[in-house]
Amino acid sequence: MSGGVDSSVAALLLKEHGYNVVGAHMKLWDYAEVGADVYRDGRCCSLDAVNDCRAVCDAIDAPFYVLNLSRQFRREVIDNFVSEYKAGRTPNPCIRCNTNVKWQPFLQKAREIGCDFIATGHYARIELGDTGRNLICKGVDETRDQSYFLWGLTQDALSRTLMPLGGLHKSEVREIARRHGLKTSEKKESREICFVADDDYHRFLREWDAKHDVPARPGDIVEESGRVMGRHDGAAYYTIGQRHGLGISHPTPLYVLDIDAANNRVVVGDDASLYRDEMVVENVNWIATAPPSRLPRRSDTSVSSPRHDASKLVSRASRDDEKAESRAGLPETCRSDDFRHPGPTNTPHLEPDYPCHPERSRRQACSSRYARGSLEATVKIRYQHSPANARLTVLTDNSVRVTFDERQRAITPGQSAVFYDDDILLGGGVIK
């Protein structure tokens, strides 16, 4: 629980559907460490956020714990954030947090205290594929879909995860919160990185360097030809596609094309130069299919996945009148106070059309589309990006070359690339 409306409603829905819910807030960083305004309210990990979580748990009668994962977060997320920028890449800390903190030590802690699942307020769906693999699918609210952030999750992690909001629209979620009088119903969205309050990454990096006695390393800003255009105060403070903050006056707008960390140079050029049609993606994690080398190769590519029936999902979660009926059918096990030792097969025996039930529908996975070492997919190169048609050519089990049908703007090393087959997340990785 972050203290926001999404995780609040997720907790509420699960409680209503008979799960034994335990609310947990991850304490991930210290104010002193990340240089923030102590009085800025609401932001995840602030005291206000903890109080909001506590209030919601009290309202739904669930235990509430604050789990201190700041050491792990510092190591896996903050240190990685800094080192990626220094290497000239633009990191995605939310994804690092999901992959290395939330679905690792946090999940571990949940299991240790006897929980079978962790649940989050992500707008995404977890379903079971026809091959028995757990699938991640986009949330039905396309403007809010957060599946992008989940590409790093393992099958084991997915088998222990519930995402009750995937079948809902944001407006419905707020309405549920309002109807139940949750204090977080009107809370503002937080879009920034949780540990950079003011969204000013450069301020954060500069202060981090100062705190760790790392001297500034000014260098040249150059055109692709090598002509020096200006000076920068640290290549790490720039990102691909950036236009402002270059300090260069030029008749036409200049954009950062590349960060040459080795030579401490920032390369700039015009907008057109930002467009590329190819990229290599590394550290690939396959979700919908097994890693390519283990797939049987087939020559036909004809099969398509059946449309998922979204209406059932929406009806369960948002209609109160059906609730009473649904509770009556609840088997005894999920009302008991006992937590069983979790395991992939040891899931509570719920009715199959509950929104969170992993057996609810079996999607046909796209393994049947795999042919001749390549795969068609739509690919996102950052969160705010419309998935673009591309062909993926498998290089190794963990790396893929992506060739877009149309050139894409500002493909940025370090950002995550996520591959989709319609609304099924195939896998993802880091742009080289």
Binding site: V22, K27, P63, Y65, V66, L67, N68, R71, Q108, K109, R111, E112, I113, G114, F339, H341
Partner: protein, 390 residues
Amino acid sequence: MEPIYLDHNATTPVDPAVVEAMLPFLSECYGNASSVHSFGRDAKVALERARETIAGVINCEPSELYFTSGGTESDNIAVLGTAYRYRNKKKHLVVGATEHHAVIEPAEHLHHNEGLALDFLPVDSDGFAAPDRLAELVTDQTALVSVMHGNNETGALQDIAALTAVTHERGVLFHTDAVQSIGKVAVDVKTLGVDLLSLTGHKIYGPKGTGALFIRQSVKIAPLFYGGAHEKKRRPGTENVAGAVGLAKALEIAEQRREPDFTRLSELADYFIDKVTAAIPDSFLNSPRTRRIPPTINFSFPGAEGESIILSLDLKGIAASSGSACTSGATEPSHVLTAMGIPPERGQAAVRFSMGRTTTREQMDYVLEILPPIIERLRAMSPTYRQSRA
């Protein structure tokens, strides 16, 4: 099933007799004890009666007892007040290595921000401090030595009389934090030989927000608060008469039942300790078997993280704690266990059970049913524990 409370060292419920004793001072006898008129006088009489009762319990003069808001405040006045009073002549402090943060933090503040030298008196593997070590540390520059009577995490009881023998010889002041020990074992300031002593109400079935500080007749301290002549100007502020009355009643009740409670809880503790040791392999008792406040039982179960044990117990309706109540959420082992030389793998796996007046054998039997499977589950999930067993 009703949740089982085994965290009496964190706090205790207020005895109904104490509540009853306090109520009139909230509604009928509400005067400001410093007021000249009849309302004030009535309140003042009750306050002084309470003072006498408490002084009787710890064997001091009523004029040596000062009411405060609790143990933390009393500790702060003792440490800071003494240090500030003598700062021109004495610039050294000695503090026990296993003290509560309410003693350590003021001492560290004095060290880092006021230029006083600070030494920690080490303890042995049972948590006991040795008089010889104290003798080595104390100098003619020492303003104060502070060593707690009973430890909140392990229950270890220091031999305060042996330690004060050392400080008396050298003319050095000695403070003891008796927050955990008061009402559970004999606390007599003359037998202990201390110059200052802190006590609180809420660990002994009295209300939270009440406490007292014993300051021996000739000892001078600088006040921390300014704003009135209350408590001989050593602790200004309108007196919490209801609180003082409650504190006195709680201590009076505790004294009456101290010996039978001690016997009953010692037996129950021994029962529990023996059963746990038999049921859970690789378990370590961190509390000393003797010279301990009996209801405090601190165990380590390597391979299971303290926080995970506590949360698992909580979800089963059993309230216990790991580390002191003030330091939850961190995976650092407590400074108390570390000072005892306990290695991190054991320190991180520590759980404290602290029993009380309402603790029954049935409750402890339930814990004995629930605890071993929790430890087993946690150990089975721990990659490092399995490795070391292999």
